[in-house]
């Protein structure tokens, strides 16, 4: 059944006609209930509580069940948005969750971390009527959480095992969604992960207060239930090479090794003690649990912490610093708030928590004491100039205007480059000058036919949902490629 036919089903038509469009659009957008900002910046628990069933059903009423649902164009995996929302309106929450899972492997994750205001919600027809868009992300989270909490998690139908072995490099969202799809098609899938934990950025990067690890683990257990095997502490290209995998009978390899390499600014004093990448900071805190007293990994608990950058990673770092006891937790960003790439909700939450925003400020030097520990940061004051290649107005220096602020910790969050381990170790791959792997846009196949790739290793830094979309695309294409080779 295609989406037009689905929409024409009697239950949908009836529901649609049960209320006037005007009545629907007049309902104000639901507010996500959240922990009190003063309390939450002293704990690590999730900020948002999630919607109640009543609130979710009320919000679902706002959706007009459009004949041409433009919202879906904004979703990189094409979630059938009106269908899942109408299931919620009817109170059929498990059906809603099932709809989500038709196209997304990790709805509980995406409902929380997708930049909805730039994707699905940006295309909602409500905006054209000068109303707030339907809270698609909140509803997605609601349905996924409801299913998990109900204990009635639908196990997908898995095809007869076909005995063919497939390897996945990296257990981030790209690798997980690829693994799930291949397992459903009957392949014998093994995921190899370099770290000692499964989940990629979902575990070592995004903090607990935004995405609790337990939810990621549920998704991983679901994959285990359909036969996916996980091997941690195993670096492909080092512990085992792709050649060895091939010799071992693996028919295909999907590389989802992510963008692990932190970028620095190459300014004076950047190697002082107390200056670190957000990857180091978040890895210490999230993966190694360094802030808890029984962990052996140390982390420096700064009192005056400056985070450089304006993306999600920067927001996560600065809010983590606040939670770890910083009196001043500062964002220093070289453009203005409008250009910040972080999710809107995170910026909003950060402000509520008392994070200071120093925009149009670009660090040019760190100053340290005689023990080499950072004590000050010099900021160049900027102003906005002409739009650059990214379409954002580019920051230009205001000549001679600088500011020096006192800090005891600085976290550099100015982007990441692709993890170089695979590009370095696989012969024949085509690599761009940014270090990403070149693949065919439609199939995600690389220049080495057995190797497919997706996620941040192909895109540079992107999003969870794009990485998942790549994984799904690659799974479909690899299945086709393997079957072609057989016939």
């Amino acid at each position: 059944m295609n989406i037009t036919e689905e929409r024409a089903l009697p239950w949908r038509a009836e529901l649609r006609n049960s209320m006037k469009a005007k009545e629907r659009t007049d309902i104000p957008r639901v507010e996500m209930p959240a922990q009190d900002p003063k309390v939450r910046c002293t704990n690590n628990e999730e900020v948002n509580y999630g919607l109640t069933a009543e609130k979710a059903m009320q919000e679902a009423k706002r959706c007009l069940d459009c004949a041409n649902p433009t919202c879906m164009e904004g979703c990189p995996v094409g979630i059938y948005i009106p269908k899942f929302i109408k299931h919620i309106e009817k109170g059929e929450f498990l059906e809603a969750a099932k709809t989500l899972k038709e196209t997304s492997a990790l709805p509980a994750v995406c409902g929380r971390v997708c930049p909805q205001e730039k994707q699905c919600e940006a295309k909602c027809v409500h905006l054209k009527m000068k109303k707030e868009s339907v809270a698609i992300g909140h509803l997605e989270r609601f349905a996924a959480d409801y299913e998990r909490e109900s204990g009635n998690i639908s196990i997908p139908v898995v095809a007869e095992p076909n005995g063919m072995k497939i390897a996945v490099v990296g257990s981030g969202p790209a690798g997980l969604s690829f693994a799930g799809d291949m397992a459903k098609m009957g392949y014998d899938v093994t995921v190899f992960e370099a770290l000692h934990e499964i989940g990629g950025v979902l575990k070592y990067g995004i903090p607990e207060f935004r995405l609790p690890n337990a939810f990621v683990d549920v998704e991983i257990d679901n994959l285990r239930a359909i036969g996916v095997k996980f091997i941690t502490n195993c670096i492909i290209g080092r512990t085992i090479t792709i050649e060895e995998l091939k010799a071992d009978g693996f028919k295909g390899v999907f590389v989802g090794s992510g963008a692990g390499l932190p970028r620095f600014m190459n300014i004076k004093g950047e190697n002082l003690v107390g200056v670190m990448s957000s990857n180091e900071y978040l890895t210490r805190v999230n993966l190694m649990d360094a802030a808890s007293p029984d962990s052996d990994t140390p982390v420096f608990l700064g009192k005056k912490v400056a985070v450089i950058g304006g993306g999600n990673t920067a927001m996560d770092s600065v809010r983590t610093a606040k939670r770890l006891g910083a009196d001043r937790a500062i964002i220093a960003y070289r453009r203005s708030e409008e250009e910040m790439p972080a999710r809107l909700e995170e910026v909003h939450h950060a402000k509520e928590e008392g994070i200071e925003f120093m925009t149009l400020r670009n660090p040019i030097e760190f100053i340290g004491n005689d023990q080499g520990r950072v004590t000050h940061m010099v900021l160049q004051v900027m102003e906005l100039g002409e739009p650059d290649a990214s379409g954002r107005r580019s920051p230009v220096e205001v000549p001679g205007k600088t500011e020096t602020i006192e800090i005891d910790e600085a976290i550099v969050s100015v982007g990441v480059s692709p993890n170089p381990l695979i590009p370095q170790s696989v012969m024949g791959l085509e690599i761009t000058k940014w270090g990403t792997i070149v693949v065919d846009n439609d199939t995600m196949q690389s220049a080495v036919p057995i190797v497919f790739a997706g996620g941040d290793i192909v895109r540079g830094g992107a999003t969870v949902i794009l990485a998942m979309g790549d994984g799904r695309k690659a799974a479909a294409a690899m299945d086709k490629w393997i079957k072609q080779g057989l016939s």
């Binding site: 000692h196 512990t239 950047e270 003690v273 890895t283 520990r373 381990l421």
Partner: protein, 262 residues
């Protein structure tokens, strides 16, 4: 010294590689050089010096116990070829990671002179193994309790003064490598130093291990651990190594209290 079962790592490791090891659920990930490997048994050998919490936890494991997590081999392998005469200068726990390099250099046909240095006689390790692998071993102790009295640099200098040296390799405490490097620079002997910076992941993800080499920031875990010693900013490295000293000391005190040892 530990022998650890890790058949895949044993198979793919080369001289100069290291592994990241974590003991216990809440353990720290620490880098350790693969000192040796036995392909038939599928094991690798690690030599560990008790420094702080993590190395002590590892040393306290009894035979047959498990290391919670171990991953590798990491880092770039040592570039081995026939250089001619090579002086391998190692101090303290740098002796262990030097062993596979000495073996590989010897196998490639080099004349290898190993300088083993430590504060006193009791801290000299692996002497017998080094004697077997090298053409000559010079033992140096700070207090003269064994071998020649003097620092590692005195030992290296005595060799450079008596014969032509084509390459020097140095592994040990950063301060020692700094002085070896200053010395060989004076004599224009090309020198490799294997840097033991603080690491977190060991896979290029965090940048904790960064050092300045020739004015550029490099990551020891993926670009190293060996670098042209004359290009390394040892003063910056020493400063960074001290970064967590206070926290580590507190943790060590806590562990001593908890286990009742001192």
């Amino acid at each position: 010294m530990f022998e650890v079962e890790a058949p895949l790592i044993a198979k793919s490791r080369k001289a100069g590689h290291f592994v990241m090891v974590k003991v216990g659920e809440k353990g720290e990930r620490i880098p350790l050089t693969i000192a040796d490997a036995d392909l038939a048994k599928g094991t690798i050998t690690l030599v560990v010096q008790k420094m702080g919490v993590s190395s002590s936890k590892l040393c306290n494991l009894a035979e047959g116990e498990f290391i919670t997590d171990m991953v590798g081999p990491l880092g770039k392998a040592t570039h081995i070829e026939k250089f001619g005469t090579v002086v391998c200068a190692c101090g303290g726990v740098g002796t262990a990671p030097m062993m596979p390099i000495v073996a590989a250099l010897k196998k490639a046909g080099n004349r290898v002179i190993t300088v083993l240095a430590a504060r006193n006689k009791d801290l000299i390790i692996l002497e017998e193994q080094m004697q077997e692998l090298s053409d000559e071993v010079i033992v140096m102790t700070d207090d003269g309790s064994y071998g020649v009295k003097g620092l590692v640099t005195n030992g290296v200098e005595s060799v450079i003064q008596r014969e032509k040296v084509d390459l020097c390799v140095t592994i040990g405490p950063a301060i020692m490598m700094k002085f070896v490097s200053l010395l060989t620079k004076k004599y224009e002997v090309p020198t490799l130093a294997s840097l033991n910076t603080i690491m977190v992941d060991g896979t290029g993800m965090c940048g904790a291990c960064r050092v300045s080499v020739g004015g550029k920031t490099r990551f020891v875990c993926i670009d190293g651990p060996e670098f042209d010693a004359h290009q390394v900013d040892f003063d910056e490295m020493l400063m960074r190594l001290g970064g967590y000293r206070d926290i580590e000391r507190e943790d060590m005190e806590k562990m001593k209290c908890a286990s009742g040892v001192n």
